[in-house]
Amino acid sequence: MRAAVLLFPGLNREGDAMRALEQASGVKPILVWHAEHDLPAGTDLVVVPGGFSYGDYLRCGAIAGRANIMNAVRAHAERGGLVLGICNGFQILCESGLLPGVLMRNKDLKFVCRMQHLRVERNDTPFTNRYSRQQIIKVCVAHGEGNYVADPETIARLEGEGRVAFRYSDFNGNIGGEANCNGSINDIAGIYSERMNVLGMMPHPENLIDPMMGGIDGRGLFESLVHAPARAA
């Protein structure tokens, strides 16, 4: 799997994403600066990592979402190539139009930084084939704007088409309530694009890949991507 990791000024999770990708695939990902117009030839997967691109100025992900490289990412996704956006990366994908909806300020206005359980809604996608359906995984969250909002039609469509990837849950798999760390509609922690080849998620699977960090539940996502059918663009 050939992965390209995008870099915008203000991101800070690119190293974590690259480590997780290399651990799963054995191949070092290529770091791509935002001003580039093209992705490296043969890129299977584009990862937009987390951080604070452009200091979250204007709106989270708004400026990065309109960078040069995003045109190439859009073309890559249109060809069926895989795209993963984590945290600020999810915000960037929403702002760029690759995913619907928007991530608003957390409901209680607090920056939430904690371990977080998620329910894997389906395991027949390139991102989750190494998990089981409805599996509860422990990863972590660290964000101030993760409150997923979209109009009722969009939410109905996402739900109807099975495009919710993960929901916030507790240890026992109970959805919602206290487990919803930011107020997201329907406890949505991550969503797929229409063709299931773009995933945006607020939590950080790339930080739970080493027992030293408190768990390895995040590995499954990167291993899934390695085992996904090739979609080189």
Partner: protein
């Protein structure tokens, strides 16, 4: 030519910042404020002569960047 663009949250979109400001006003004993919604103001200097052209350019700017029309409305004023 100068212009002002005001971006506000659409009705029904939760505005936790507005809510917090509303609470702060209440704690200052400022009376008569029923609710607060927070927005953004952009003051722009334009090198355009024609107000209609300026409107069109700013509409484009709002749609493409200044507002996220999923949750925000915008208003353009040519000053």
């Amino acid at each position: 030519m100068k212009a002002r663009v005001t971006v506000t949250l659409k009705t029904g979109v939760l505005d936790p910042q507005g809510k917090a400001i509303e609470g702060a006003l209440r704690s200052l004993a400022i009376e008569g404020v029923d609710s607060v919604r927070q927005g953004k103001v952009f003051d722009l200097e334009l090198s355009l002569e024609d107000p209609a052209r300026a409107q069109a350019v700013l509409k484009d700017a709002c749609e493409k960047l200044l507002a996220n029309t999923v949750v925000e409305n915008y208003r353009i004023e040519i000053l």
